[in-house]
């Protein structure tokens, strides 16, 4: 088994490179970026060997740097120019000097990822597992990124530091938003430890007329969506809301078919994922990557899809799991 050590090494190493290149820069605020990436790069590299309390303290320190608002990056309007300018400097119709060949290294990322995932699966079937199913995708993606970078260097005849320099420029443009998904996952752990889910499920059970099937369906679908919005993750909401509402009220009391109820319940949670800043990796990170001035711009575009879809889910949940009843 390979484990995720190579992924952590690449991630931590790249963040430390970003820290060093920020140190060399003389712009205002660079020193804060350097400290931020140095902290996160180091703990990403060595978290397995550090006492957990030290890692925790380093994260709180990094969060304090980000919250101070002194980091240089696309978030502070004045410093947005260099990258934002590169983003809009298109439409001269000039294209790339390499023509359509420029697409090849970019398309190598999905191509190699998919091939490597299939290779890991084949190795597992052959009785020679190299990575667990969850690790396989991550290892494959990391491998694909490295291979595509080397390919791009060869094609453009740029030396090795060039992609790292361009990459750390982009990393600074995204800034702390790159780390937010981790922090939210950590908050999810704390919520789970403190029993927030059980409290929410109990409050909902106390409020709904449990012998009304529609009320229970509404409570389960909306409960999944709302609790997913709080946790930022439907996987975290599913066991809590299903144990609190879905299983006792809909399956045991009203005789719902568990398979279809579970599927539609989980997808109601996904509607919540579209609506919450807590799902930072899907909603806030792309807003930063696309250099949108409003960090909730992606969520705003998703509302008009998520709400009608949630209504569809409620209707499907009222009909499908009770089709034989």
């Amino acid at each position: 088994m390979i484990g995720l050590a190579p992924v952590y090494a690449l991630l931590g190493g790249f963040m430390l490179f970003a820290a060093v290149s920020n140190l060399r820069r003389a712009e205002r605020g660079s020193i804060n970026n350097a400290a931020f990436w140095a902290l996160l790069g180091s703990i990403t590299l060595v978290a397995d060997w550090l006492p957990a309390i030290v890692t925790g303290a380093a994260i709180v320190a990094a969060a304090a740097i980000a919250a101070s608002g002194r980091m240089r990056g696309s978030r502070t309007a004045d410093a947005a120019t260099p990258i934002a300018a590169s983003f809009s400097a298109s439409v001269t119709g000039a294209g790339s000097p390499f023509g359509n060949r420029i697409f090849i290294p970019a398309l190598l990322i999905p191509a190699i990822t998919v091939t490597a995932v299939l290779a890991f699966k084949a190795a597992e079937r052959a009785g020679n597992p190299m990575a667990t199913a969850q690790h396989a995708t991550l290892l494959a993606l990391a491998l694909a990124c490295v291979a595509a970078t080397l390919g791009a260097c060869a094609m453009t005849r740029e030396p090795a530091p060039a992609p790292l320099r361009e990459g750390s420029r982009l990393l600074d443009a995204i800034g702390w938003a790159a780390i937010l998904p981790l922090l939210l996952a950590m908050l999810g752990t704390v919520f789970a430890q403190a029993g927030v889910g059980e409290i929410v499920a109990e409050l909902m059970r106390a409020w709904i007329p449990t012998d009304n099937r529609l009320a229970c369906v509404l409570a389960y679908a909306l409960g999944m969506a709302l609790f997913t919005m709080l946790m930022g993750n439907a996987f975290a909401a599913f066991p809590v809301i299903t144990a609190g509402i879905g299983l006792p009220l809909l399956v045991q009391q009203h005789g719902a078919d568990a398979a279809s109820l579970a599927a539609i319940g989980m997808l109601s949670g996904y509607c919540g994922t579209l609506l919450t800043p807590m799902a930072a990796n899907y909603n806030l990170v792309p807003a930063a990557l696309l250099e949108l001035p409003d960090r909730n711009a992606v969520i705003r575009e998703q509302v008009a899809t998520a709400l009608p879809l949630l209504a569809c889910n409620i209707a499907l949940m009222y009909l499908i799991p009770f089709r034989t009843a």
């Binding site: 990124c145 361009e166 990459g167 752990t189």
Partner: protein
């Protein structure tokens, strides 16, 4: 029952509503929840550290930044725009619908890593959609440009979420099966995955209609641009 752990939820809602820095809000919420549940600050730091070690992999998308940054410097985005303008009949809405269909189908057969915000949406999809829109409306108004970009990210999310759940080996399907098995209900993964299809079709239909209306909106903006209203100089933007 002790309701104090909900303090953290209140901090999150208030923090996002007041648009404070999310990093600070999240750490404050963690400490508030811990306080409400009787977890001391040192135990909480330890909990945070353990959680970080387990969730570090979530930052993996940054590994795509070096190659994307290098290719962008050599005109990747410009070439994507140029390529799409050579396609006959390409409009912003149609490009997005094609991407949506491709992404959702790929996710449904387990190929979830074929797209992504860092490696596909920013360098390829966004410039293609902008390029297609510019074919109709050369001077794309800034608010519309920003909306198009946000819609690219939204389309990637919708297509991924409501495609991946149909794949039987996907984590969510296995999670549901494991949950019910723990509670004494045996379910077949295939059955769970199949009941994801009705919602997947609804998602494609609802989002697709919105994308078609996007093209109509661009046509309206075009008509408005061709009939300039005198003294209507409101170039202020939407700040």
């Amino acid at each position: 029952m002790n309701y104090w752990p909900l303090l953290g939820v209140a901090v999150v809602i208030a923090g996002f509503a007041l648009r404070l820095n999310p990093m600070g809000v999240v750490v404050a919420a963690a400490f508030a929840t811990g306080f409400g549940a009787g977890i001391g600050p040192l135990a909480l730091l330890e909990l945070l550290g353990e959680a970080f070690a387990k969730s570090r992999f979530l930052a993996i998308f940054v590994l795509a930044l070096p190659v994307i940054g290098l290719l962008e410097r050599h005109g990747l985005r410009e070439q994507a725009e140029r390529w799409v303008t050579q396609l006959r009949g390409a409009t912003a809405g149609r490009v997005l619908i094609a991407y949506h269909a491709l992404r959702q189908l790929a996710a449904a057969v387990g190929l979830t890593s074929i797209g992504g915000h860092a490696q596909t949406v920013r360098p390829l999809l966004a410039p293609m959609v902008e390029g297609a829109a510019r074919r109709r409306l050369a001077a794309l108004p800034e608010p519309l440009r920003l909306r198009l970009r946000a819609l690219c990210a939204a389309t990637d999310n919708v297509a991924l979420f409501f495609g991946e759940d149909i794949f039987i080996a996907f984590g969510a399907v296995l999670l549901m099966q494991a949950f019910f098995a723990e509670h004494g209900v045996a379910l077949a993964p295939l059955e769970i995955a199949l009941w994801g299809i009705p919602t997947a079709l609804c998602a494609f239909a609802i989002h697709g209609v919105r994308l078609l209306r996007l093209d109509a909106e661009i046509e309206r903006a075009l008509a408005a641009a061709q009939v300039p209203v005198p003294a209507a100089n409101d170039g202020g933007g939407d700040a």
